[in-house]
Symmetry: C2
Subunit: 214 residues, 2 copies
C-alpha cells in the first residue's frame, strides 16, 4: 500500500463511519469515490487489490467494509494525542469535535504560561510543559500536535522526542524534520504551514499551468 | 516549474524574508536547504535551473534572491483573503500573525450567526454571509479560507464560487473538489483535514514501511 492509497483508504473509512451514523447499510463504489475525491474505477481497483468484493446486486455492506478497512488502518489501538501550545490554534483543536468519530482522543494540553494551563474551563486537562515527560509516559502518548509560536517550535519538538513521542503534526511555520532515534524507532512528522498553503493557492491561480491539487 | 519545486521556492522565499529580518545579508545553499528540509544539492539545482548564480566567495545576496524569487512567485500583487466561518478555528486564523510577513492579508470574516459577526473585538471587519457577494466584489477577493462546520462546507463553497472566489483553503472535513467554471477560470482547492493527518501519522507509526513524509 503506497501513501496515496493510504490517503484514499482513510477517506473511505471516514466516509463509511459517517454513512453508518446516518443509518445507511450499503454503499456503492461511486459513493466512496465522491467522498474521497477519486473516480469509482479507483475505488474498485483499491478494493480488488485488498481482496474486498462487492455483492451480486452491487454495492458493499458498510459494516463489513468498516471492519476490513479498520483493521487495515490499525483501528482499535488507542489513538491518544496531546496538544503542545494552548494559544488560539491549540485551543481551537482542543475544542474540535471532529476527532472522536475517527477514534482520536486529545488527552492533554501543555503550555508554559500558568495563566493558560490553569484555565479551569478547558474540556481536557492542561499542564505545565515541565510535566511533559511525566504525563507522556503515564498516558503512553506517541503523537503530539505542535501549536506553539515559531520561536518555540524546535525546542518543543526536541522535548517531545526526548519524552518518547514519535509522531508530530506541526502547525508552526518552522519546517520540522524527522530525526533518527538512537533506539531505532521511526519518527513521523507532518508539517502544515497555513501561510505557505495560502501562498501556493495564490501562485496556482496566477499560473494555472501548475495544475490544481485537491 | 513543478509543484514540488514551487513548494521549495516558497519555502526559500519565506526563509529569506526571515533571515533578512534578523539582519543577515548573505545566505548559503545549506542554510536554505535546512529551512526547506532538502539537501543543499537540490537548492543549487533549483537555482541553477532558474539561472540564479552565487558569488565567487560563495553564498548569495539575500536581497537579490528575494527580488528574483518574489517576482517568480507573483509577489507585489495584492494577496487579499477572507475567512468563511468565524468559530474557534476561524477566529484563531483571524488573530494569526504569521500571514503578514508573507504578504497575505485577511481582509474580512463571514459568519451566519449575528452573535459572531457583530463581535466588536475582532481585529478585522466581520459580516453576515448574506453580504458575501457584495464584499468579495468590492475588495476583489479571489481566495477564501473555509472554516465552517462539516454540514455547511459544500454550501459555503458553492456561494464562494458564485461570488467569484477561485482559490479555497478548506479546513472542514469535507473533501471539496475544483469545479470547472463557465467563464473558463481555474479553481484551486487545497483541503486540510486535520483528523485525517493525525490518522495517517498513527498509521505511519504503526507501519513504518510506509516511509515518512515531511
Amino acid at each position: 500500500m503506497n501513501n496515496e492509497q493510504l490517503v484514499r483508504i482513510t477517506r473511505y473509512y471516514r466516509a463509511l463511519n459517517r454513512l453508518r451514523t446516518i443509518g445507511l447499510e450499503k454503499v456503492f463504489a461511486h459513493n466512496l469515490a465522491d467522498a474521497a475525491g477519486v473516480s469509482p474505477a479507483i475505488v474498485r481497483k483499491d478494493f480488488s487489490q485488498l481482496a474486498i468484493h462487492g455483492q451480486k446486486r452491487g454495492g458493499y455492506e458498510i459494516t463489513d467494509l468498516i471492519g476490513v478497512l479498520g483493521s487495515l488502518l490499525g483501528k482499535g489501538d488507542p489513538q491518544n494525542c496531546i496538544i503542545v501550545g494552548c494559544g488560539r490554534i491549540g485551543k481551537a483543536l482542543i475544542h474540535y469535535t471532529g476527532f472522536e468519530p475517527d477514534g482520536i482522543r486529545i488527552v492533554a494540553g501543555f503550555d508554559n504560561d500558568p495563566n493558560v494551563y490553569t484555565d479551569s474551563s478547558s474540556p481536557i486537562p492542561l499542564y505545565s510543559l515541565n510535566r511533559l515527560d511525566e504525563i507522556v509516559s503515564a498516558l503512553k502518548v506517541k503523537v503530539a500536535v505542535i501549536t506553539v509560536p515559531e520561536v518555540a517550535a524546535q525546542e518543543s519538538y526536541d522535548r517531545l522526542l526526548k519524552a518518547g513521542v514519535r509522531g508530530i503534526l506541526n502547525f508552526s511555520p518552522v519546517t520540522l524534520k524527522p530525526v533518527p532515534q538512537e533506539d531505532g524507532t521511526v519518527v513521523v512528522v507532518h508539517n502544515i504551514n497555513i501561510a505557505l498553503e495560502l501562498e501556493q493557492i495564490f501562485y496556482e491561480l496566477k499560473f494555472p499551468a501548475m495544475g490544481h491539487r485537491e
